[in-house]
């Protein structure tokens, strides 16, 4: 089938299956649907649309059909996105299962593991979270202590994970655990899939400087995990972890999803115009004009670099360690942007609560505070700099 034939097919299918309520400007589609057992649809049209996508394999179009995908080529995926964009719709299902675990399973899991887990990710039935970091093992991820001791056909897992994003809303967790305490630290780690309904698993939300957060601590108290839930060989979990971190960085480096700006709330310029009482025309303070221009220009440069990289990947060049550059730069750019926006917003953005203050009023403040985590979580800026220095520039140890 040629590209254009495929395009025609897609159009027809969309005409038939995408409800008008899920298209265009007034679309009722939420930004993201994370799925999982706790999730229920707020609107039947959304449910109809997602089910149609799932049936077609188009929530994860590049995955093989056997695992819930549609086996599309990169070019076909591109066409699919273009056609959905053209009518103002998209596939709202998104999860760490889709963006991180799925690609790792495709590479490292057994056939049985793939058939068990991938379709439920594709359909949104099971929501996954990530159990990597521990309180004592931050940037030095591989120094993790959470242990899994073999007992017959099970592992007994004991320990604590931190920064397990949305653990309290997730059904399963993929975990790095230590299966050999005597081996060098990278060589005693295994990769386990754990059902969070298992006895001994508990979670506690983490409060951040910005308030309530999606992050949790997750505790494992003698949790039994069947050996068949180990991905890849025992003590070879670091190989899986590295592949998965690469996917995470790629995900974090996408400046925006579906062209919505990554920094929520009112734009810089909008805030500046309000704050400086200048509804139109040139702003009265050149220093602020220059600062706003700088972050806008930097974003333009960043997006161009990202586009170039995407084109190169589509042309067959792999994403290498330079993924660290994207994670590093975007997190800092977003911080600079929200720092400036908060500063422009002046005294209004210093308020936390009180008379007449609701969540909308303090959105800029919360976002600014929450953004402080961006240069730390998912690999600190310092770790990214080390990776660039070593693996991109080849500087000596």
């Amino acid at each position: 089938m040629t590209k254009e034939e495929f395009r025609v097919q897609v159009r027809t299918w969309l005409d038939d299956h995408c409800p008008p309520a899920c298209r265009g400007k007034g679309s009722i589609l939420p930004d993201i649907i994370w799925g999982g057992r706790q999730f229920t649809y707020a609107h039947p049209d959304v449910e109809r649309w997602v089910k149609a996508l799932v049936d077609k394999g188009w929530t994860v179009p590049s995955w093989p059909a056997a695992y819930g995908g549609a086996g599309l080529s990169a070019e076909e995926v591109q066409v699919l996105h273009e056609e959905m964009s053209a009518i103002g719709t998209y596939s709202p299902l998104f999860s760490y299962g889709m963006s991180m675990l799925g690609p790792a399973l495709l590479e490292y899991a057994t056939e049985e593991q793939k058939r068990t887990h991938l379709p439920k990710i594709a359909s949104g039935e099971i929501r996954w979270c990530q159990g990597y970091s521990e309180p004592g093992a931050g940037s030095d991820l591989a120094s993790l202590q959470c242990s899994a001791v073999r007992d017959g056909d099970d592992y007994i897992v004991t320990g604590q994970k931190i920064w397990t994003s949305t653990a309290d809303k997730s059904d399963w967790i993929f975990c790095l655990v230590r299966t050999d305490t005597h081996a060098p630290k990278h060589e005693g780690i295994s990769f386990l899939l754990i059902d969070m309904a298992s006895p001994g698993v508990s979670t506690r939300p983490i409060e951040l400087i910005s308030g309530a957060s999606p992050f949790c601590e997750t505790f494992f108290d003698d949790v039994r995990v069947p050996v068949e839930n180990r991905v890849h060989e025992e003590n070879k979990g670091w190989t899986v972890a590295k592949a998965l971190l690469q996917h995470e960085r790629t995900m974090l480096s996408a400046s925006n999803r579906r062209s919505k700006v990554s920094v929520p709330g009112r734009g810089l310029l909008e805030v500046a115009r309000d704050s400086l009482r200048t509804p139109e025309g040139s702003l009265p303070d050149d220093t602020l004009r220059a600062e706003i221009a700088q972050v806008q220009m930097d974003r333009l440069c960043y997006e161009t670099l990202h586009q170039k990289n995407t084109e190169a990947r589509e042309a067959g060049h792999g994403m290498g360690p330079e993924g660290s550059m994207f994670k590093l730069y975007l997190s800092e750019l977003n911080q600079r942007t929200s720092d400036l926006r908060q500063r422009l917003n002046g005294s209004d953005s210093l308020v936390w609560n009180g008379d007449g203050i609701d969540e909308k009023e303090i959105a800029i403040t919360r976002e600014w505070l929450y953004g402080k985590a961006a240069t730390i979580l998912g690999g600190t800026s310092e770790v990214q700099l080390n990776i660039i220095a070593k693996r991109v520039l080849g500087l000596p140890d």
Binding site: S143, I162, T287, L288, S347, L350, L369, E382
Partner: protein
């Protein structure tokens, strides 16, 4: 004037440090922030500060003051900042009391200053009408009537407004917003008819209010000065306030710096103390330089206020600009070097970062003071 401490100043510093060690309670700050309603000034701590004589520091002995200066008041503010101990020193002593001292009649001083010193009366300065610090942008009007004046307008970000017994209000008698002419300063009791407050809690636990004035009757003897330009008084008050606030910022900055350097010495990653990594070492060393520069300029600026020389305004702006930048850097590096734990609410570094951020923007951020410095130097 020497930048070193006199023996008396060293003793004051010790006593303030002891007080703060004793009163420092960051968990209370957390609780306060998540309790409903905006809290009032803590009268218990305040009365202890009054007993220690801190409210009396900058006032003349004639009004019951100690006849000391900002060199001394700054010492106290710095120690309070170290422990994030909150008090109405800035709103009541520096702003309210300061304006009365600068621009009040002797009747005003007689009535107000002893009550401020005794801790019986709290006050604040209601000046801001825009999101960014722009003190001459005054739309609030003061209109002459047969039976006195009428005050109408809304002031933002009035420090400790919810606890104040009286406000000094910056209002416009003539001219347009932005003019430095046509301004007046009026005393307005908080319980006057037509005064209405919205109280807000800030991210660092401070309280501020929006204060609405609706056709409030202002009697003749509530006005602080003649019809001359008030802008000079406002400048002088802000010089004092920025420098006092800078001292408080300095205390917070040092706390963040100290706790972070300590963390670098104990936290291990990759089999080594993270303070042994040169990338962090160099940043810590640069941060140290900024802290040292901040200490020096605060000392100079406090003394400049006391000497009241022709360069006071420049020095005060240089001080606030520097402290704002160092506070920003300290919040950033403090959190980043702590890593994940640094962004959790349970760790103290975030509280200091928020304190620094509020102070950074209060009375003008570093951009504002760069341009104020430039203007006052004629360019």
């Amino acid at each position: 004037m020497s930048l070193l401490f006199s023996e008396e100043q060293s003793l004051l510093k010790e006593s303030a440090a002891a007080f703060v060690r004793n009163k420092r309670d960051l968990n209370a700050l957390r609780v306060r922030r998540s309790s409903p309603g905006v809290p009032q000034v803590d009268r218990e701590i305040w009365s202890e500060m009054v007993e220690l004589g801190w409210t009396a520091i900058p006032f003349e002995e004639a009004w019951g003051g100690l006849g000391l200066g900002f060199a001394e008041l700054g010492i106290v503010m710095e120690e309070l900042g170290r422990g994030l101990v909150q008090s109405p020193l800035l709103s009541t002593v520096v702003l309210y009391g300061g304006i009365i001292e600068i621009a009040g009649s002797s009747e005003h001083k007689q009535r107000i200053l002893p009550e401020v010193i005794a801790g019986n009366s709290l006050g604040s300065f209601a000046y801001l009408e825009s999101a960014r610090h722009d003190p001459l942008h005054v739309e609030t009007t003061l209109k002459s009537q047969r039976d006195g004046y009428r005050l109408t307008g809304c002031k933002h970000f009035v420090l400790d407004g919810g606890s104040a017994d009286e406000f000094v209000v910056l209002a416009r008698e003539k001219g347009r917003p932005g003019d430095d002419d046509g301004l007046r300063l009026a005393l307005v009791p908080a319980d006057s008819e037509g005064v209405e407050l919205e109280n807000h809690l800030l991210i660092d636990g401070r309280s501020v209010s929006n204060v609405h004035f609706r056709e409030v009757v202002v009697e003749d003897d509530w006005l602080l000065t003649g019809a001359g330009p008030v802008a000079g008084v406002v400048d002088q008050v802000f010089d004092r306030a920025t420098v006092a606030l800078s001292s408080e910022m300095l205390g917070g900055i040092q706390s963040v710096f100290d706790m972070t350097i300590e963390y670098l010495k104990v936290r291990e990653q990759f089999g080594a103390k993270i303070g042994s990594f040169q990338g962090l070492k160099h940043r810590a060393a640069r941060w140290f330089c900024e802290v040292e520069l901040s200490k020096a300029i605060v000392l100079k600026a406090l003394r400049a206020i006391d000497e009241n020389g022709p360069e006071t305004l420049q020095i005060a702006s240089a001080c606030k600009a520097r402290l704002s930048d160092t506070a920003l850097l300290s919040g950033k590096e403090g959190i980043q070097m702590h890593g994940g734990i640094g962004v959790t609410d349970e760790h103290d570094v975030g509280l200091f970062m928020k304190h620094g951020r509020v102070a950074e923007m209060m009375f003008g951020d570093s951009r504002f003071h760069q341009l104020r410095f430039a203007s006052s130097n004629g360019y």
